[in-house]
C-alpha cells in the first residue's frame, strides 16, 4: 500500500510538473496573434466582426485592429445585430465555437486556419438585414457582456423614428452590478409602434448570471414603412442604470 502511494504521488508530482512546463506550448505566442491580426486586416469586409472564444481570450484586443472584437459568452443566443460575417478567433484547446455556431444556423465561410495555438474561421451568420433604432455608438456592460445599448432613465420614454421592418427586437437590462440588487422591483418597458401599444418587456432583478439581458421579439404590424417607436420605462425603483437596445429586421 505504501509502495503504491509512493509511486502514485511521484507520478502525480511529475505529471503536474510536466503539465506546468508545457503550458506555454498550449497557448498562443505574440507572433501567432500578430499573424492572425494581419490576416484579418487583409480580409476584413463590411459587416465583419471577430468573436473570441473562449471569452477570456481578450488578449486579442491588443492585436486585432481591423474590426470590432466581441466577447459574447453565449454563442448560440447572442444577437450580433448588424454582423454579416463573424470571424471566430479561438483557442481550440480551451473550446471550439463550431458546435454553437452551427446550432444557431451559421455556416463556415472558409476553412479553419491555424496560427500556433490559435484558430481562425469565418462564419456566415445568415442574419436578416437590420435597421438600428437605438444609439449604437456607446457600449455598456449588461450581464457581463459589452452591449451597444442606449442608457435610459427609468421613468422616461424614448421615442425613435426608424424603418419598420418585419420584426422589432428589444433587448434591455440593468448596467453593472446594480442588476443584482436584492429586493428591487422589476422594470417594465412598454413598447409602442406608431402610438399603438405593441408589447411589454419585463426586466426583473437578475438572480442568476446570464439571465440579465432580457429579450423581446415581436412582429411589426403592417403600415407606414417609416414609423415612430416608443419605449416607456417604468419601475417603482428608478435609481438603477438601465440600458435598452432596439432594432428592426427583415
Amino acid at each position: 500500500m505504501k509502495r503504491l502511494a509512493f509511486w502514485a504521488l511521484l507520478a502525480c508530482g511529475a505529471g503536474s510538473l510536466l503539465f506546468d512546463l508545457t503550458l506555454s506550448s498550449r497557448l498562443p505566442r505574440e507572433g501567432d496573434w500578430a499573424e492572425l491580426a494581419g490576416v484579418l486586416r487583409a480580409e476584413t469586409g463590411l459587416g465583419d466582426a471577430a468573436q473570441i472564444w473562449p471569452a477570456w481570450a481578450e488578449e486579442s484586443r491588443l492585436y486585432i485592429d481591423s474590426m470590432p472584437v466581441l466577447a459574447e459568452e453565449d454563442l448560440v443566443n447572442a444577437d450580433y445585430p448588424g454582423v454579416v460575417r463573424l470571424w471566430a478567433v479561438s483557442l481550440p484547446r480551451y473550446g471550439n465555437p463550431e458546435k454553437a455556431l452551427r446550432e444557431r444556423g451559421a455556416t463556415p465561410a472558409n476553412e479553419p486556419r491555424r496560427f500556433g495555438a490559435l484558430q481562425l474561421q469565418a462564419w456566415n451568420l445568415h442574419a436578416p438585414e437590420i435597421a438600428a433604432l437605438t444609439d449604437t455608438n456607446l457600449l455598456h456592460e449588461v450581464d457581463y457582456v459589452a452591449r451597444r445599448c442606449q442608457q435610459l432613465r427609468i421613468g422616461s420614454t424614448l421615442t425613435l423614428r426608424g424603418p419598420a421592418l418585419a420584426m422589432l427586437h428589444v433587448r434591455a437590462g440593468v448596467i453593472g452590478e446594480r442588476a443584482y440588487d436584492a429586493g428591487k422591483p422589476p422594470i417594465i418597458v412598454n413598447v409602442f409602434a406608431g402610438g399603438a401599444p405593441l408589447a411589454a418587456l419585463q426586466v426583473p432583478r437578475t438572480e442568476r448570471d446570464g439571465t440579465g439581458w432580457r429579450r423581446l421579439d415581436v412582429p411589426v404590424p403592417a403600415g407606414d414603412p417609416l414609423r415612430e417607436f416608443s419605449f416607456a420605462v417604468e419601475s417603482h425603483d428608478g435609481a438603477r442604470p438601465f440600458c435598452l437596445q432596439a432594432w428592426t429586421s427583415k
Binding site: 505504501k2 503536474s16 477570456w56 481570450a57 457600449l139
Partner: protein
C-alpha cells in the same frame, strides 16, 4: 531540533525579504500602512510626551479600529526604527518587516510540530506550506493573514507544551501567546472553544482543563498592545466585534457565477484550496486530513495530532457555514493548510522506501509549487494549480481572476515611461493609500495624478474583475477606442488592462 526550527524560520523570513520588492501593495495594506503611520506618530508622541500620548490614544488609534493593534504597532515600530530614525530601509520594506518575522515564526512552529514525528518531517512541514504561490505571496504582506496563521500554530505548540509541563512557565507562555493571537486578529476568538474540546478528549483531561484558565491572561496582552482600548474599552470592543459580525460581503467569481451574498456553497473553501494549490500538495493535504480523521475515529491520535486536526478544522469551519464572508481566496483559512502540513510531511516520510527516494518524492511534491512561484510571483492572487488547469484553466472555469489590485505593479513601469507630466490615471481598484505608497516608494512617478473615473483620466489601468466589467466599456466610451495599450496577461489571461486616450504617448 529547536536549532533546525530557528534556521528554517530565519530562512523563511530571509526568503520573504529577498522576494518582496516586486510584490504590489494590496488594498488592505494601503489601509494598514496608513494606520501604521498614525500609530508611529503616536509612538513618537509617547517618547516625547508620554502623558499626552496616553491621553490621546483615540486620536491616533481610531483609524482601522476593526483590527486589533499589535501587528500594526509592529509595522509602525519597524518603520520608526528602520526608516524614520536610521533611514536604513525604504518605507514599505520597513512596514513589511514584522510580517516576514511572522512568516519565519510560522516555519518555526510548523517545524516543531513536524519534529515530533521525525527530523525529515520537521524540514518538510514548513516547505510544504510555503511551496505554493498562494501561500508564499501572503508571507510578504503587511497584513494579518500570515501572522494569525503563525499564531494558530504557535498557540497549538504552546498549548501542547503547557499541558505536558509541570512548571508554570509554559502555562504562562501559553496564556501570553494566546493573548498575542488575540491582539493580531479576531480569528483567535475561535481558539478557546477548540482548546476546551481538545482538553475534554485528552486522557489527562483534568490537567488540560486546569491549564485552560491561563488564557485569562490574554486580555492583558490585548489591552497592552492596543492603546485604542485604553479609553472607553467597552465601546471599542463592541465596535470591533460588531464590525466582524456584520461584515460586508464582496463579490466573488466562482464557477461562472458571481457569489454576492449567503448562502455560499458549503464546500467552497475546500474547492478553492484544491484549485489554487499545486495538485501534489492538494493530494498530500487531503491524505493528511483523512489520516487524522481516521485516527480520530479509531481513537488513535496523540494529543498533538488531535490538536492539529482540531485547529485545522477550526480554521476551516467558519467558511463551511455558508454565511461567513468568503472573499480573499484561501487567505482566511491558511491555518487549515498550515496545520495539515506536519501530518502531510509525516505521510510523505512514511511512504518513501528509502532516504534517497524520500528526496525524489519530496521533489515531486514540491517542484510544481516552486514552478508556480517562479512563474507567477509576485501576482499571487492570480495563482491556480494544475487541478484548475493553471491560470487559463481557472479562467475557463470562471474562477476569480485576482483580488486586492496588487498586480498593478506590472504596468507601473509602462505608465512611468509613457505618461506625459501630470497625466491623470484611473487606477481602478488601487486605492488612494496604495497609490500614495507607490509614489513614495518611487515605483510610480510623483507627477502622475490619481483620477476618480475613466472620464476624468488620460490613462486607465483596469483590473480584471468579473464584478467590475462595466469599467471597460465605460473606458471605451470615454476614450473612443477598444484597443488596449498594454497590460498584464498571465498565460494569456487578462489581469490588468491599460488603455490610453488616442494621441497620448503609448496609445496604439
Amino acid at each position: 531540533m529547536k536549532g533546525l526550527a530557528r534556521s528554517l524560520g530565519l530562512a523563511t523570513a530571509a526568503a520573504m525579504a529577498l522576494t518582496q520588492a516586486s510584490v504590489g501593495f494590496t488594498r488592505d495594506e494601503g489601509y494598514y500602512f496608513t494606520a501604521a503611520q498614525s500609530y508611529e506618530a503616536w509612538l513618537r508622541l509617547l517618547l516625547s510626551s508620554p502623558l499626552q500620548a496616553i491621553a490621546q490614544t483615540e486620536k491616533y488609534w481610531s483609524y482601522n479600529f476593526e483590527h486589533p493593534g499589535l501587528t500594526k504597532l509592529l509595522f509602525a515600530l519597524s518603520h520608526l526604527i528602520f526608516t524614520t530614525w536610521t533611514h536604513a530601509l525604504p518605507d514599505a520594506l520597513a512596514w513589511r518587516l514584522p510580517a516576514f518575522a511572522f512568516a519565519g515564526l510560522l516555519s518555526y512552529w510548523l517545524c516543531l510540530l513536524g519534529a515530533s514525528r521525525s527530523r525529515e518531517a520537521a524540514i518538510l512541514a514548513p516547505l510544504l506550506f510555503w511551496c505554493a504561490e498562494g501561500t508564499f505571496f501572503h508571507g510578504h504582506l503587511a497584513c494579518f493573514d500570515i501572522p494569525i496563521c503563525a499564531l494558530w500554530a504557535g498557540v497549538g505548540v504552546a498549548w501542547i507544551q503547557a499541558i505536558e509541563s509541570k512548571t508554570r512557565g509554559p502555562k504562562l507562555w501559553f496564556g501570553f501567546i494566546y493573548g498575542v493571537s488575540l491582539a493580531v486578529k479576531h480569528n483567535a476568538w475561535f481558539l478557546p472553544p477548540v482548546l476546551l474540546v481538545h482538553a475534554l478528549f485528552l486522557p489527562q483531561r483534568r490537567k488540560a482543563l486546569l491549564t485552560l484558565p491561563y488564557i485569562l491572561l490574554s486580555p492583558l496582552v490585548l489591552f497592552a498592545a492596543w492603546p485604542l482600548l485604553w479609553h472607553d474599552p467597552v465601546r471599542h470592543l463592541q465596535a470591533w466585534v460588531a464590525f466582524h459580525l456584520h461584515h460586508v460581503h464582496y463579490a466573488w467569481w466562482y464557477f461562472g457565477q458571481v457569489l454576492r451574498a449567503p448562502p455560499f456553497p458549503i464546500w467552497y473553501p475546500l474547492v478553492v484550496d484544491a484549485l489554487v494549490l499545486p495538485l501534489p500538495l492538494v493530494v498530500l493535504l487531503a491524505a493528511a486530513g483523512i489520516a487524522l480523521l481516521i485516527g480520530f475515529f479509531r481513537k488513535r491520535l496523540s494529543p498533538q495530532r488531535l490538536l492539529e486536526l482540531a485547529l485545522a478544522g477550526a480554521a476551516l469551519l467558519p467558511f463551511l457555514l455558508t454565511t461567513t464572508p468568503i472573499f480573499g481566496g484561501i487567505k482566511h483559512w491558511l491555518g487549515f493548510v498550515a496545520l495539515l502540513c506536519p501530518e502531510a510531511a509525516a505521510l510523505l516520510v512514511s511512504i518513501a522506501p528509502s532516504k534517497r527516494l524520500l528526496v525524489a518524492v519530496s521533489a515531486a511534491v514540491l517542484l510544481p509549487g516552486v514552478w508556480q512561484i517562479a512563474h507567477v510571483h509576485p501576482y499571487g492572487t492570480s495563482a491556480y494549480g494544475e487541478l484548475a488547469g493553471d491560470i487559463p484553466g481557472a479562467a475557463q472555469l470562471g474562477m476569480q481572476r485576482q483580488y486586492w489590485s496588487n498586480n498593478v505593479t506590472a504596468v507601473l513601469p509602462w505608465l512611468n515611461e509613457h505618461c506625459p507630466p501630470a497625466s491623470r490615471v484611473f487606477f481602478h481598484e488601487v486605492n488612494f493609500e496604495s497609490y500614495r505608497t507607490y509614489v513614495a516608494m518611487g515605483l510610480l512617478r510623483g507627477d502622475i495624478r490619481y483620477a476618480q473615473s475613466p472620464e476624468q483620466s488620460d490613462y486607465a489601468a483596469l483590473q480584471w474583475h468579473r464584478e467590475f466589467r462595466d469599467y471597460e466599456p465605460e473606458t471605451w466610451n470615454a476614450y473612443g477606442t477598444q484597443r488596449p495599450a498594454t497590460g498584464l496577461y498571465l498565460d494569456g489571461v487578462p489581469q490588468v488592462v491599460v488603455y490610453a486616450r488616442p494621441g497620448k504617448p503609448g496609445a496604439p
